[in-house]
């Protein structure tokens, strides 16, 4: 098969110089860059031997010399110069300003709304900046660090994103990298990157769980590793759960113990959290720690900490159960568990994970660095340095993609956890006679109603030939590429009218919204079924009311006055039921109206038949 002999890009000559490729973990709190160092891939330090670059960017006024500070130097100014020092910009990527404000009520930044698409723009001393530009400034510093280390310009980079990042968030991450002048080889999901970092060490075959508990989010993925192919079987998690929640739980406990009833001022609140965080770190290495907050002194032991946080650890385990189920695996099928994220340093987490999976989790690679290292390994392969022992990553889409159909229902086209790249086509039809245009509304989420899912894009397919309802066939094709980015096209198959778009959503879906939506879809599965039943009943009723109104206009004369009144009563009852929420009642009254109008329909039929028969007899006469 000649078609299958695709050459390795740039890897033909044995003497080809090694290309410069890096992996970048663009994190919420810290970012890292990793590159091949001899045989292994390692994260690169700055001149003061610090590997982690705080994801903080400060824009300076002309009077201070202008320019940009990134990392530790910027972070120092976050409370001194809060308006111009942007931290945790990753949370703003792919979001609308309104969403950002709703999720972060205490942001100090001066936001300007870009009227075009409501994207956030931050006003700083150095001018306006978008989250994408701020991210690009962080990426530039990391790229510079790597270029110095590798002695030359970079050939390509792999950038990691949370598995749960949606289309808009991925799009903006990639655009930020392009803005920083990087050649993006691939956007790689963080848990997949972690699995690569471990997988290549051990060369194991089997199923691996990646348990990633960061400061604010929790991801869990299951991968199967076979003959150099890493296939993601399922991914899930809880984007409102992280190390910060453990701090908050501890802070509440401290307040209870201290029995202070006074309102805390902002400084005290900040002190309380600092004490809590220090205690959390302390308890990781000690059986008990001494605490002091205000006038209160106390002791926290490991047992109490485990009890206090058991609800949080339970949630991580519950997410593990669900993802196992999605992957159709059971605990004994799991061969390895990998820990990622600083919060997995807590012994309570390690213990629960070990108990649940009945094995000690692996944590030999620094949980802060493992994602960047995995990305670096993948970059080395993609750029063509490793043609011999190349491995392959097969990832999945984390959320179902679908389109809106009649009655605001979602027709799922690509279910979650489908291996990407993927193309799926589905046929839809017109709802009304003579309909010549159709709005295609693309949504992302697990629920059955459009309003409960995330809207990604809308586009219009025009020029559908005018036909009876249901006669036109619209074929909608969804294509998700290897970066997880979506493209949609639509064709009317009868005439070949095509409308094609690359979906560029005007706004993204926050990770926590994805989480909320996923959870809601589980909690509301039965509610969804009721909602669906209601919608279907309404559509049925409206169609009958429409048809009846037309028939009455055309052939009302076939009815006696008394019959007209009967029909009017039945119509009125159904119309008022339509104002309510009871699908059973709507259905019943629709049936009632059907039976009341059955005689009318029969008479119309007779009239049509005799009309047709007359027509036929005339034409037969003419023919003969």
């Amino acid at each position: 098969m000649a078609l299958l002999q695709i050459a390795e890009p740039g890897g033909k000559s044995a003497k080809a110089p090694r290309k410069r490729a890096v992996g970048i973990d663009l994190g919420t709190t810290n970012s890292l860059v990793a590159a091949p160092c001899g045989e292994s891939v390692e994260t690169l330090p700055d001149e003061q031997d610090r590997h982690l670059l705080p994801s903080a960017v400060r824009y300076l006024a002309e009077s201070e010399g202008g320019g940009v500070q990134v990392g530790h130097s910027a972070l120092e100014y976050s409370s001194i110069d809060p308006l111009n020092t942007i931290v945790s910009v990753k949370r703003f990527l792919g979001k609308k300003l309104a969403e950002i404000k709703a999720a972060n009520p205490f942001l100090p930044y001066r936001f300007i709304t870009d009227s075009e698409n409501e994207q956030p723009v931050i006003s700083t001393e150095a001018g306006t900046r978008t989250p994408m530009q701020v991210s690009a400034d962080i990426l530039r510093v990391l790229a510079g660090r790597a270029e110095k280390f590798l002695n030359g310009p970079l050939d390509g980079a792999v950038i990691t994103v949370p598995a749960y990042f949606n289309d808009a968030q991925r799009q903006q991450t990639r655009d930020a990298a392009l803005l920083a002048g990087l050649n993006v080889l691939r956007l790689l999901n963080e848990p997949t990157a972690a699995a690569v970092a471990y997988g290549l060490d051990s060369r194991d075959e089997g199923n691996v769980v990646v348990f990633d508990l960061g400061g604010g989010t929790f991801d869990v993925s299951i991968l199967s590793m076979q003959k150099g192919v890493f296939q993601v079987l399922a991914t899930g998690g809880d984007t409102n759960l992280g190390g910060d929640d453990f701090d908050h739980t501890l802070a509440h406990w401290i307040l209870e113990q201290a029995a202070t009833n006074d309102e805390l001022d902002p400084a005290q609140q900040s002190e309380l959290l600092t004490v809590a965080r220090a205690a959390k770190h302390g308890i990781s290495d000690n059986e008990s720690v001494e605490l002091q907050f205000g006038d209160w002194n106390g002791t926290l032991n490991a047992e109490t900490f485990a009890e206090l946080t058991s609800e949080l650890t339970d949630r991580t385990i519950n997410a593990c159960r669900r993802v196992l189920r999605d992957a159709r695996l059971k605990v004994p099928d799991i061969d390895n568990v990998v820990l990622v994220g600083g919060a997995t340093r807590m012994p309570v987490i390690r213990q629960r994970v070990a108990d649940f999976f009945q094995r000690q989790p692996l944590a030999d690679i620094d949980p802060d660095k493992v994602v960047a290292i995995g990305a670096g390994i993948q970059a080395d392969v993609l750029v063509g340095n490793k043609s011999g022992d190349a491995f392959l990553l097969l990832d999945v889409n984390p959320l179902s993609l679908g389109i809106e159909t009649v009655g605001e229902l979602v027709e799922k086209i690509i279910p979650r956890n489908t291996t990407i790249p993927v193309a799926k086509a589905q046929e839809f039809t017109t709802f009304k006679d003579g309909q010549t245009a159709m709005l295609i509304h693309v949504v992302q989420g697990e629920r059955e109603l459009v309003s409960d899912c995330r809207s990604l894009a809308r586009f219009e397919l025009r020029g559908i030939p005018s036909m009876a309802a249901g006669a036109a066939k619209i074929r909608v094709t969804f294509q998700v590429d290897a970066d997880g980015l979506l493209g949609v096209s639509a064709t009317e198959t009868g005439t070949g009218t095509t409308a094609e778009i690359q979906v560029k959503p005007s706004y993204g879906l926050s990770s926590s919204e994805i989480e909320t939506m996923l959870k809601a879809s589980q909690e509301h599965a039965s509610e969804d079924m009721q909602a669906r039943a209601l919608h279907e009943a309404r559509i049925e009723a409206e169609q009958i009311l429409d048809a009846l109104a037309g028939a009455l206009r055309a052939d009302g004369d076939l009815l006696a006055k008394e019959e007209v009144e009967h029909i009017a009563v039945a119509t009125g009852n159904l119309e008022s039921a339509l104002q309510g929420q009871d699908s059973g009642e709507i259905h019943e009254l629709t049936e009632k109206l059907n039976s009341v109008t059955a005689e009318f329909a029969a008479r119309r039929m007779d009239k049509e038949i005799s009309r047709a028969l007359r027509g036929e007899s005339i034409s037969s006469v003419a023919d003969s």
Partner: protein, 176 residues
């Protein structure tokens, strides 16, 4: 590059209902390793587009052949039968009665964790029926009796749907 190719041919396996899933998975990985977009990450836009299309095709083909239900539909499709065109005579009254009974059992279950054991039993008996159906489908399609194969397909379809409902009910009960 695979456009319009028969899924079975693509993976070099016989076009039959019985499929060795291990061989299928090995072939899938082998082919993916060759055509995946990662292999042309530094290539031209044209090469990348081709790789995306080839991989999408492979994923679709693999998914279809992996699932007994979709595999059966595909085998019928290869014989020119569209399973979406349901003929009333394809559905036997006995099957419908059995389905109604099973569904009633499902609906009568208490909506709490006590139902889990019962669900497990129900699932086992349905899995058994699914396996029987699949065995029969394999036989009749092998013999070339397409009308019977189509009937058998709908029977499989009923049980597959029931199995999916049991699963989602279980997830509800477990609070996922």
């Amino acid at each position: 590059m695979f456009k319009d190719r028969n899924f079975f041919d693509v993976f070099s396996i016989p076009a039959a209902f019985q499929v060795d899933l291990t061989i299928l998975a090995d072939q899938y990985r082998e082919l993916q390793a060759q055509v995946h977009p990662d292999r042309v990450a530094g290539g031209s836009e044209q090469e990348k587009l081709q790789a995306i299309q080839a991989t999408s095709f492979l994923n679709e083909a693999y998914e279809t052949l992996q699932s007994p239900q979709r595999r059966a539909a595909y085998l019928l499709e290869l014989q020119g039968i569209d399973v979406n065109q349901v003929d009333q005579s394809d559905l036997s009254p006995v099957l419908l009665m059995e389905q109604i009974e099973l569904r009633e059992q499902l609906e009568e279950l208490p909506r709490d964790e006590a139902a889990l054991d019962k669900l497990e039993q129900l699932r086992e008996s349905i899995e058994q029926r699914q396996a029987d159906c699949q065995g029969q489908f394999a036989q009749v399609i092998e013999q070339g009796s397409l009308t019977d194969a189509k009937k058998q397909y709908y029977e499989m379809q009923y049980f597959a749907k029931l199995a999916a409902e049991i699963e989602s009910l279980e997830e509800d009960l477990l609070g996922y």
